[in-house]
Each structure stands twice: as structure tokens, then as C-alpha cells.
Symmetry: none
Subunit: 192 residues, 2 copies
DNA sequence: TTCTAATCTAATGGG
DNA sequence: CCCATTAGATTAGT
């Protein structure tokens, strides 16, 4: 006989179920606890989620991320990372932008977060950097475009002038001035 | 209930299973009839989900709440819009991409959503379209860049060609006339 | 099969 | 309102 009483979050319709569960859990677990509204939390990371006592899960698997719907157990609201948590995460992401299983759990332990949350944080972080870089690439492209445009104009000008010199020079001026190239240059650098 | 056990274990893959799961959950949750397939106007492959019963009327839960004081006590987990709701919203956004107060409440009434949710949906929608257009602009820029690059190459080629003709044609004269500037230039470009 | 990365979308908060 | 961000849910890929 399976002892599962909680509904796994993998269920497709977990939404409604979660609400129901949430409500009931609120009633049961209810009103007691209150996360410290003070964000300063000078000490260590606040322990954020009490896992409901689970039935004895034989053997700790490598991954036990799935906490099902207990994320909302007493949750007054959404998760806000403290400065310490953010700092640690940043440091970690600088080390490796992708987490191994061990690292994930380790970090989760240090942060007082669920492994799943750490994982998600990393995902979102990666997405963010990617987006930023896309924007940056776009800007780079824009500059490149600008440069190309300038080059283009210059080339057109030079080409026109060179052609003009070629045509004119073939007739007469070439013999007199003796230097079509100089004519061209003089024309081109008129302003200078 | 053993049914829950079955659901919780796995599987979101198979379509058949999905339907079964959905059906069962509908029974469990107590959803009434679910309006079937929705004409999905916008784009993507027809999704099979279509079925989300938001029949959790446990009293004052969803519909009747006006915006403003959003109770944070129960974390509202995630709302999934039905195909009908989405279709109506799409239609509305086609009419006006911004909502008036009246329209908002009206729509909310028709959809069975809170005005706040309608508002949020419109905001997200606008953000989405804006993002898409940005991407599109970026792509456009890229093509323009490409074109410029091609033009550039062509111009360089033509210019080189013209210059070559010019130099060759004036080579004899240049040697005789002995322009110092052009001698220098000719020496530098002799190879080309 | 499981796992994770990537994507979409509802929701929050600040400005 | 816009914007950035969070996180749940889903899809796709190895």
C-alpha cells in the first residue's frame, strides 16, 4: 500500500490541488510562524522552509529536490533572497555557471533553500545574462552597421572621383598636369 | 485514496495518460463540464491542454475579489487561462491595446477573472509584443548589415579595378613627367 | 526512463 | 502605466 498522501507537483493539474492542499495546510500548520520581515537579518541565512515531516523515505536519493507542494506551507509570500544569499549565489555562479548535483545540494544547505530553488535561480541567472548579451550583441551590430555605412559612403565617393579622373585624364589633363592621381587626391581632400 | 497515488508517481508524457489524469482530476476536484477545444487563433500548434477546470469555488476564492487588497495569506499559485479566455483576451487586445476602466471590468466579468488579472494580462501582452518587435528589428538590422557588407566588398573591388586601370594607363606618362607624389604612390602599389 | 535546459506566462513590486 | 524580476508550469532535448 502506498503511503503517499501528498500530491506530487508533477501532476499536471497540480494547481487546484495545491490550492486545496495549501488551504488545508494553512489551517493545520497555520498561523504560527512568521518570517522575519526585517530583511537585514544580520546573522545567517534565515531558514525559510520547514519541510513537513515526511514518511520515511527509504534511502536518500541523490536527488530529493521534489518537495511537492509544500512551498506554500506557511508562506506569507514569495521568496525574497537576502543579501547574503544573493552574494553566495553570485559567488557560486562565478565559479561554475552550471551546478553539479553535489554543489546544488550543498548550496541549498548553506542557503536554507530547497535545491529546486537553487536550481531555478541558476537557470534564471543564465537566462538573464544571455538576454543581456543579446542586447549587447545587438548594440555591437548597430555600431558595426554604422561603420560599414561610413566606409560605404567613402568608397562610393572615392570610386566616383577616380572614375571622373580616369575619364577626364584620358583626354587631356593627364598630359598637362601629369598626375591623375594627384588630381584625385586633391579633389578628395578638398576639405582638408 | 489510491487514485492520488497513481497520479503522483509520474508521467506527464503520454497523451492518453494525460487525458486520463485530467479526467480523474476533474472528477476529484469536481470540475463540471469543460468547454472543449478552443479555436486557437494565434499561431502555434494546437495544444492539447485546453482543459483546465477552474471550478474551485470554495467560497470567496477567486472571482469575486476586487483588486486592491490582495490577500497574501493564500498564495495564489498559478492561474492558467482557458482557451476561451485567451481567445477573448486576444480579441479584445486587437480592438484596443490599452484598456479603459470600463472595459477592464467588463472583460473581467465575462472572463470570470479579477480586473487586476485582466490588467496584468494586458501588460504582459504588451511587453511580449514589444519584445518580439525588438527581436524583429534586430534581425532587420542584421540583414541591413549584411547588405552593406556586400556593397562594401563590391565597391572595394570596383575601386581597386578602376585604380589599376588608372595607374596602368598613366604609367608611361607618369614616369616621364616624374611627379614625386605619384612615384611614391606607384612604388607602394606596384605589386597590386 | 529520468533529468535538466529552455520557454512561456502569471504575478509582484518599484518608478 | 512601464519596466524588471520572480517563479510556476510546460515543452523539448540529451
Amino acid at each position: 500500500m502506498s503511503t503517499v498522501t501528498t500530491i506530487s507537483s508533477t501532476s499536471k493539474e497540480s494547481l487546484e490541488v495545491e490550492e486545496l492542499v495549501d488551504t488545508r495546510l494553512s489551517l493545520v500548520i497555520g498561523a504560527g510562524s512568521q518570517p522575519p520581515p526585517a530583511p537585514e537579518a544580520a546573522g545567517h541565512v534565515a531558514r525559510q522552509h520547514g519541510k513537513r515531516a515526511r514518511a520515511v523515505h527509504g534511502g536518500s536519493d541523490i536527488d530529493d529536490d521534489d518537495d511537492g507542494g509544500d512551498a506554500v506551507g506557511r508562506a506569507r509570500k514569495k521568496l525574497r533572497l537576502t543579501a547574503e544569499q544573493a552574494a553566495l549565489l553570485e559567488k557560486s555562479v562565478r565559479a561554475h555557471n552550471v551546478l553539479s548535483h553535489g554543489e546544488k545540494h550543498d548550496l541549498a544547505g548553506q542557503l536554507g533553500l530547497k535545491p529546486r530553488q537553487v536550481e531555478v535561480w541558476f537557470q534564471n541567472r543564465r537566462a538573464r545574462t544571455k538576454l543581456k548579451q543579446t542586447e549587447l550583441d545587438c548594440e555591437l551590430l548597430r555600431r558595426w552597421c554604422e561603420r560599414l555605412s561610413d566606409d560605404n559612403a567613402r568608397l562610393r565617393r572615392e570610386l566616383a572621383e577616380t572614375r571622373a579622373v580616369l575619364l577626364v585624364g584620358g583626354a587631356q589633363d593627364l598630359t598637362f598636369t601629369g598626375c591623375p592621381s594627384c588630381n584625385r587626391l586633391a579633389g578628395g581632400r578638398r576639405a582638408a
